[in-house]
Amino acid sequence: MRYIDKTVVGLTIAFLVLFIADFFMAEWVRFIGLQSLARGAVALGLLVLWRTGLVSFGHALYFGFGAYAAAMLTLIGYHDAFLLVFAGTLAAGVLAYLLGFLLRRYRAIFFALLNMAFSMILYGVIVKTEELGSTDGFSVLTPTFLGYAPQGEAVQTTLFIFTLVFTYIITVGVHLYMKTTLGGMSMAVRENEIRVEYLGYSAEKVIHVKYVFSGLVAGFGGAIMALAIGQVDPDSMANWTVSGEFVFITILSGIGNVGATYIGALVFELIRTYAFEYAPQFWQFILGGSLLAIIMFLPDGIWSLFSRLRRSEKAPSP
């Protein structure tokens, strides 16, 4: 490409800033950042689906599956973060690939709800499995990184860098992928599936590819979350409310930019953290209220704030 892609530049700057900031951040900030990266990755997967015109209310399925897959490996003695995250990502991807054959036939609200139904089945299976701690879940021990076994604060510092590198690669990858023929077909499928079919390509195949991708990144997010928190349990990882939170983050971020999903996730974490802190008994009220406010008054997500800002900069009022 002859031109410089500004999104890639922006992501790279953000990556570098965060990379350096990692060594200076307060622990709780890093921890919130880590969670935002993990949830943001899931939202990124949902964004890809959304651009294809589909919304899933069940991506806790892949988030939880990735988290449990990674966590279960620690039970049999594997602790390398690379292996765990890779396995979690892959497991969720395989599951998405299999379910994709069924789900790619559905659209709109039916697609959204069938996803939710499948996520509830996973939830039921986990609760039923006493070996995996049922509703209690189980702890995930501190990971190692290719033989390096950090202690204390270094655990989170290392994990943050680890996560940052992979989310950067994934995010830039997604952004570039969106510009390929297959990536661009998101638009085509969303706008007119019939035309896509009559141009000689399967809309369902396009959807299936996106679906597998969204499953992969959701699994990645789940595996990262399992390592970051050091715990997996069905209520926080596979419950339908978790899926709702992911859609919340996606809407909050808006469809505009791949990087926005992480900002959306961060805003979500901050709302929740402060609601928890200042209204311990009524934090759901605040969370729900913010969600409603965003839906009503910021329909295009927080990214539209940036756009508005830029527009007003460029075109001073007459």
Partner: protein, 298 residues
């Protein structure tokens, strides 16, 4: 033989419970294509209101059977109030937006209402067992059943039949079916879709609240009761076919009787029955057993 009859009775009671908690969800989905997550809140509010009214009623010296009126009154108050407030005050501004935005909005409403519930009624549970105590118990095949739970079967049949007849035999019902079939053409034909939507949402809300109001005497009305209902009702509706009232009935029967059989025969799998049926239906017929036909695109 005794066990078989007991399974059938237990199954019917639980099916009726399932039907009562899910019918409101399916009515709203069928007409408006909205998955109303706040349905669980309607259920919870219905239960709290019912418990409050029943409690107040039995503090008076009025005839004991009047307590049942309190149940229906509670459902009506909650359903009409929340139905109108939420539909007119919020949802109607979102009809032009994507379906999933509306689902998300109802999810937000659910979060908010959960806490509003606690602001109004606090965290202590409410009891309203008087109506259940009043009806007493009856022996069937040498086993004692409480009459109140059995009346649930009757209520479910009445509600199911009423809705079905209302939809297929009345002018209003036919209008509704027209709207379900094609919103735009109905509008062009002069049907006031706005009113149809409001009425549907109110009816769905009343149904949701009635589920809670009628169940209230048999349970401890306490925080969190609405959450479970969302999952249950959603599963029933998915199994039966989203938006189909006969589907909800069949789905409820299927789950209810299978669950009762599991409890009596293989209790360790009870938890999994509903998920297993859902998985099976999804694998074989993902649109649900009674899915309404979907229109094609060209």
């Amino acid at each position: 033989m005794q066990e078989l009859i007991v399974i059938l009775i237990d199954g019917l009671v639980f099916s009726s419970y399932l039907f009562m908690v899910s019918v409101g969800l399916t009515v709203i989905f069928g007409v408006m294509k909205i998955l109303n997550v706040a349905h669980g809140s309607f259920y919870a509010f219905g239960a709290y209101m019912s418990a409050t009214l029943i409690g107040a009623y039995y503090n008076t010296d009025l005839p004991e059977f009047g307590g049942f009126l309190a149940i229906f009154l509670a459902a009506l108050i909650i359903g009409v109030f929340f139905g109108i407030v939420l539909e007119r005050g919020l949802l109607r501004f979102l009809y032009h937006r994507d379906e999933h935005i509306i689902v998300l909005a109802t999810f937000a409403m659910f979060l908010v209402l959960e806490d509003v519930l606690m602001m109004i009624w606090g965290t202590d549970p409410y009891y309203a067992y008087e109506p259940m105590a009043l009806l007493g118990a009856v022996d069937i095949v040498e086993l004692t059943f409480d009459v109140y739970s059995l009346t649930l079967i009757g209520l479910a049949v009445i509600v199911g039949l009423g809705l079905w007849l209302g939809l297929t035999r009345t002018k209003w019902g036919k209008l509704l079916l027209a709207v379900i079939f094609d919103r735009e053409i109905s509008q062009a034909m002069g049907i006031n879709v706005t009113v149809v939507f409001t009425v549907t949402f109110v009816v769905g809300a009343i149904m949701g609240a009635l589920g809670g109001a009628y169940i209230a005497p048999t349970i401890s009305v306490s925080p969190g009761i609405g959450v479970e209902v969302i999952v249950l009702s959603f599963a029933v509706v998915v199994i039966g076919g989203m938006g189909s009232i006969p589907g909800a009935m069949i789905g409820a029967l299927l789950v209810g009787i299978s669950r009762a059989a599991a409890v009596h025969k293989f209790p360790e799998i009870e938890l999994f029955v509903i998920y297993a049926i859902m998985a099976l239906v999804l694998a074989i017929r993902p649109e649900g057993l009674f899915a309404p036909a979907q229109a094609r695109k060209i």
